[in-house]
Structures are given as structure tokens and as C-alpha cells.
Symmetry: C2
Subunit: 437 residues, 2 copies
């Protein structure tokens, strides 16, 4: 028997996962490499950050996903370099040979050259960041409860969400609900409803990739949840005590103890490896400019999918959203199989199924095939789409039940302050610790 062709996939996000799944019956040997042992359902990460879900509920162990897929092995590790002519991926501690390489390493938060902001304004890309944000949010209310100085208390109760895309909108909506419903009766010295939540967006409206009427709907939904939307407002500085912003009216300081970043993404660093070793061209966001079949020019055996790929369609770059990654993964899997059979493959074409963003309990906006929906209907669609997409059966049912409870009771079960800075005396300046009695 001829040895099987080896397909190596870098990254177990949406792109890599769906590529590997689509190769299930292909006559190839698949190796899926990821730094983590689980696939993360990133669209629901904000629910971990806001205490509705536990990490285990939105993550699926990769080995469990591929348990019955005999042609696929999962490896924990990180690709650090590439030997493009030798067809080898180099790891910190070894190498893997490939016949086809699918690079699906995604994107990371971008602080526009101000990486020092990260310390004060975590992004929302990993489980660890989500639990860190949960810590920050819950701790802020605890600190406010203990603070006697009204001005400092106000700083603790001020939250700034930088970036008005779907993540920022979803976080803002969830924070509004936390302040107005979940925590309403939990404190004795403060009223959580006094919390001030700013959603800061540099452009003229939130959800800039959505139709304008849905942006307006989202803004009025957020307003009802007590969120103050600040458009045309750029963040120009972040420190431990707040942010500075540039608005049409001039510069402004917003004192705030909690700042969360979702204002920008940059391509993951393996793009630079592809540039150096395979001659790939990068756009200014670090994405790899790919051929119409998602391969790297000059390297038909290397494909780039998902957030790391720059692919124009009808004159516009495909957005960095999970459906693009999922469809890219399926397309590349098919293309590889066609090539092995000696057939030619058509170009990749993304089918836009629409956009969905949830704003809060029973509230969402949706743009599906030109149909603009909002409110409860959009929320039910959101619910259905996300549940169906959660990879594992057990997860799906549990998340559904969690949401049922959340919906009926306004409570949040996963409201734990855990991790390094779990003690109240750590992680905050001394002066906020005088006891309120």
C-alpha cells in the first residue's frame, strides 16, 4: 500500500477544526497541531467573561472531537518555523513532515502599537482572558462596596469597553444586565445600577459591518440597558485609573477602573513565518494574501484559512468571522481531495449567511440575506444558531439549560473570582481598602 499523503493543520480553531473534520473520509493522514488541548467556541467567550457560562461549557477537548476519526491525530504543540522546500513544520522540540499544510492560526488582539495598554485593558481571546475579565468586573463591584470616597467609588463603578464591534456590543449588553439585574440586590452599600458603562467606538456607529438601521437598533437596545454609547471616540491612552479619548469636541479623560479591549485584531505571528520562509506577501494587518484557492502564491501545497488569510471577494476583503474560517476549512479539505484525484478545484467563494449579534436577554440584531431582524426573533435565531454550532452534544444541552436559568432567574452561576489575584488585598491600590462600615 502506498503511504498516505500527510495533511498537517496548524490551529484547532474554527478553520482548523472544520478542515480536519472534512478530511474524515479522505485517503490522507491528518495531524492537527494546537497549543491547547481544546477547541474554543469563541463566539460565547463573552458569556464566560460575564459569568453566565463556565469555561468547560464552551470548550471541547480536541481529542474527544476526533476520537472516532481514525485518520486524524491531535498533537499539543506550537509551530515556530517552517522549512517550505523540505515540507516540514518546525516545533520548539521537533518537526512534522507534510504534503499539504493548512495554516489556521487565527488572530490576536491589537493595541495599535501600544502593547503596554494590555495590562490595564485585557482582550477577549482566550479562556484565561475571559476569567481575568470576569475577575475584574466582579472585583470592581466588591471594591466599590468597600469604598467610602464617592469619587473613587464612581471610578470602580465605571466600565469602559473599547471597540464597538460585535464583541464590544455583546460585552456591553451583558455588563448592563449584570449591573441592573443580576447584582441588583447583592450589595448593601452600593446600588449596582449606579454603574456607568461606556461603549467607545472610533467610527460613527456601533457594529460598523452591519447595516446602519441595525446599528441604530443595537444602540437603542444598549441605551435601555444603561449603556452609554460613545461613537466617533478614539482611545488615545489606557492606564490603571482610566482612559483618555479623542472626540470631535476635544480630548477627554474617563476615570475608570475596568477597561476591556476589543478595538482591534492583528494576524497571528505565523504569517511572518510564511513571509520569511515561503515568500508570502502580507497585508498591513499581517494577513497572508492568498490565491483564489486560498493557497500561498508559489506554494500550492500551503493553504491559509480564517483570520490569518487575506482574500478579496467582489472587491472587499472577507471579514475575520467564524463562518469564513469554517467555509475555508471545508473548501480546502475538498480541494486537497480533488487534487489527489487529479481533478481541478474551483476558486473559494464565501457564502455570507448573515450577521448576528446579541445585546442582552431576549435582544439581538440579525442581518440574514438582506432581511434585518431585531429583538426577540433575532435573539431566538442567535440562540438556535449558536447551540447548533457548539461542537459537542453534552455542551450543547448544558449551555441551553444554563441559558434557561439565566433567562428565568436573571442569575449568573459562574460568578467566581478565581485565579492569581483572587484575594481582595491583591491587585488593587492600598487606598481603596479602607473598610466601609
Amino acid at each position: 500500500m502506498e503511504p498516505r499523503h500527510r495533511v498537517v493543520i496548524l490551529g484547532g480553531g474554527f478553520g482548523g477544526l472544520y478542515a480536519a473534520k472534512a478530511l474524515k473520509h479522505a485517503p490522507v493522514q491528518v495531524t492537527l497541531l494546537d497549543r491547547r488541548n481544546f477547541h474554543l467556541f469563541q463566539p460565547l467567550l463573552y458569556q464566560v467573561a460575564t459569568g453566565s457560562l463556565s469555561p468547560g461549557e464552551i470548550a471541547s477537548p480536541l481529542r474527544a472531537v476526533f476520537r472516532r476519526q481514525k485518520n486524524t491525530e491531535v498533537l499539543l504543540g506550537e509551530a515556530v518555523d517552517l522549512d517550505a522546500s523540505g515540507h516540514r513544520v518546525l516545533l520548539a522540540d521537533g518537526a512534522i513532515d507534510y504534503d499539504f499544510l493548512i495554516v489556521a492560526t487565527g488572530s490576536a488582539d491589537s493595541y495599535f502599537g501600544h502593547d503596554e495598554w494590555r495590562e490595564y485593558a485585557p482582550g477577549l481571546k482566550s479562556i484565561e482572558e475571559a476569567t481575568a475579565i470576569r475577575h475584574k468586573i466582579l472585583y470592581a463591584f466588591e471594591a466599590a462596596e468597600r469604598e467610602q470616597d464617592p469619587e473613587k467609588r464612581r471610578e470602580w463603578l465605571t466600565f469602559v469597553l473599547a471597540g464597538g464591534g460585535p464583541t464590544g456590543v455583546e460585552l456591553a449588553g451583558a455588563l448592563g444586565e449584570i449591573a441592573h439585574d443580576t447584582l441588583r440586590r447583592d450589595f448593601r452599600s452600593i446600588d449596582p445600577r449606579d454603574a456607568v458603562i461606556y461603549l467607545v467606538e472610533g467610527g460613527p456607529r456601533v457594529l460598523p459591518t452591519y447595516p446602519p438601521d441595525l446599528s441604530a437598533k443595537a444602540e437603542s437596545s444598549l441605551d435601555r440597558l444603561g449603556v452609554t454609547v460613545r461613537t466617533n471616540t478614539f482611545v488615545t491612552g489606557v492606564d490603571a485609573e482610566g482612559v483618555t479619548v479623542k472626540t470631535p469636541a476635544g480630548n477627554e479623560r474617563i476615570p475608570a477602573r475596568t477597561v476591556i479591549w476589543s478595538a482591534g485584531v492583528r494576524a497571528s505571528s505565523f504569517g511572518r513565518v510564511l513571509a520569511r520562509r515561503a515568500g508570502a506577501e502580507l497585508d498591513k494587518g499581517g494577513r497572508v494574501i492568498v490565491n483564489p484557492d486560498l493557497s500561498v502564491p508559489g506554494h500550492p501545497e500551503i493553504f491559509v484559512i480564517g483570520d490569518l488569510a487575506h482574500r478579496d471577494q467582489d472587491g472587499k476583503m472577507l471579514p475575520g468571522v467564524s463562518p469564513v474560517a469554517i467555509q475555508g476549512g471545508g473548501y480546502v479539505a475538498k480541494t486537497i481531495q480533488k487534487r489527489l484525484r487529479g481533478e481541478s478545484a474551483p476558486d473559494f467563494r464565501y457564502r455570507d449567511m448573515g450577521n448576528l449579534a446579541v445585546i442582552g436577554r431576549a435582544s439581538a440584531v440579525a442581518d440574514i440575506g438582506g432581511l434585518h431582524l431585531s429583538g426577540l426573533v433575532a435573539w431566538f435565531i442567535w440562540l438556535f444558531v449558536h447551540l447548533m454550532n457548539l461542537v459537542q452534544f453534552a455542551n450543547r444541552v448544558l449551555v441551553f439549560i444554563q441559558w434557561g436559568f439565566l433567562y428565568l432567574t436573571y442569575s449568573r452561576g459562574a460568578r467566581l473570582i478565581t485565579g492569581e489575584d483572587q484575594r481582595v488585598t491583591a491587585g488593587a491600590p492600598e487606598d481603596v481598602h479602607r473598610l466601609v462600615r
Copy 2:
């Protein structure tokens, strides 16, 4: 109106939680102080460590528990000192006055003077330790999958559980199931069933506080799950590559990459504060020797309950188990109310409801009022008791569903390697990272 008496409770574990709950209708002002913002259902912590449950499922936010209990406030903070004559508890950053003080700060792991072992053999007391253990266990299988040297692979697949009490037995049973069922088909290079699991106990039998016939039942159940029980075996050293033990036959080295500690507990440090500031007498385990009404001799207004208290009953010290803490909390709450009404209170008397330890799927041992049960019946009792005791309604239902899935599918949904050392290249020696291909 006369100002209400102030009851301050240190610690939101079982003792403190039940004391505060039992004061719901008392004419007092209650302050519950804890370093964490949640009550942890410690009996199920081993299920977080072994990937069956998520942290949020066994923890209840204290503020949510006491939301409707208007006479009770929750404060995040840590008591560091006591002004016993001034009736004040000192925090790092303030003070709280009390009329009655209930100390319920519990216990911590003891390494018998070898705190350097902690680095290699985490205990199972906190959420963070549970996720660290989960990381260690799952990572060991990943490392074994990548290791080519059979001897080193065997080290990765060897697990040593130090301490044959209920925690050790429960962990051993769960580890046996992970190796034999959960992960069975997940790897390509190793067979997880080759894992060697040692349960090491210094005494002559596991579950030393149980009747001997139930210890024997537990040992044979563990044997069926592939666990090797080593009794009369003392751990004399722990390092990164294994443990040394002393057995009747002499000293022995067990090479093992994963060691988990449940061999001893010591009282929490607030006992020493009580000794220094209130003249309390400590036993050699650091527990406070209390009066028959659980108060500190000479200080009728200070009570100590739960693991920190040393109280003899019928010539034997009450064990450090949750029912003792729960009953102590309820008793002290009643005693305070009686005293406020000018009545006298009877001595504390612990009613032993029996002992329960679970060994695996559908297997447990129970000693209930002298009735010795094992197998499925004991397991159902265990299931019922633990579900009924989980504090919050939502948690209860979710855990039940998780267990249903686990029972039906042998899978574990919370199998995430998260935290500081999440990358495969961190936390393990370089030599294990050569790639298996």
C-alpha cells in the same frame, strides 16, 4: 431602637455559611467575611480536578446565597489579627467590631514540615489547585503520547496519590476511570489503560476512619479500576520525577511525573491569632481547644467551629468533615440567640449521620448508623446526599445532568488544560518534547 448585636463570621465554608444562614431571623447584624466571593462545595472538588465538573458548578457566589437575607452582609477580605478585649477583628486594611465572633477558617494541606513538596504534589483544597491538578493529569497523558523512550513514557503514565482518606480514594477511582474509560480511544501512540495509579497510605488500610469491612470493599473496587493500593507505605520524599516511600520491606523509589497530595491537613493560621490574642490553647495540629459550647475558654463571645476546632466527644476528637462544621454552625447560631434572650444553651453534641465515599461510576461505600453499604446502593445515597447539599438550585440541576452524561457516556466535558502553564512547551523538561512520529 436599640442597635442590634453584631455577629462577625470569619470564613464562608460549610461552618460559616450554615452559621450565617441559621441567623437569618435572629435580631442581629451579621457580617460574613471571606477571602473569596464564593462558597466552595469541597466534597466535589475532586470532580473538578478530574474533569467531570466545571468550577462554577460546585461554587456558589456568597452574595447570591445571602441576597434575600437582609440582616447579613458579605465582605471580601481576610482577617489578619484580633483585638480580643476591644472586640475587633483586624483586616489588612481596616477593622470590624463584633459582639459575637464565629471563627470558621477551616484547614489547609499539611506536608508534615516538608513544604517544598507542595511544588511537586499539589493538594486539593481550592478551585485553583483543582484546575492545576486537572492540568497535571491531562498533560501527563499528552506528554506520554509524545514520548518515545518507554521508560520515560512509563514515568508520565504513573500517578501517585499520597493519602488513603476519602479524597485520595475518590481521586484514585476517578483517575482509574479516566485511564480505562474516558481517554481509552483518544490517543494514537499510547494506550491510557497502561497508566499505573498508586494510592499510597501510611496506615494498614484505606479510609482509616471507616469500618474495616468497608475499607476492604473500597480496596477491591479500586483494584477493579486498575488502582494499586499500597498500605503501610509512608511518603518520605517528593520531587519532580517521583516519590520515595518507606515500606515494611524497606525504602523504595517510585518514578512518577504526577503526584497529588491528600495525606494531611493542618488547622488554618487564625488559630495562632486566637492563641496569641485570646489565650486560646491549641492542640498539636494547631486546632483551638474549645469549650463544650464551642466557645474559646475565657471568651464566651468567641466561637470556633469546623476544622479549626478541637472538640472531644465521648473521648474522641470530632473529625474534620463537613457535617461537623455544618452542625457546629447551626448550634452556635442557636446558642447566640438563646444568650441574647437570657437563656442558657446546652452543650454542642455532634450527631454522626455516617460516612460516605465514592469510588467511581456506580460504586461507593457508606456507613450509615452502623449499616454498611457498598456498590450501587451506596452510590445512589452518595448522589442524593451530595445533590441535596449543593447550595444553589441551578447548580444542583446542572451537576445532576453532568453526572447523567458522565454515567451514560463515560465522557468528561471539563477536560481543559488551562492556566499559567497551558502551553505544551512550558512546565515540563525539554527532553520529553521530542516528537513522536
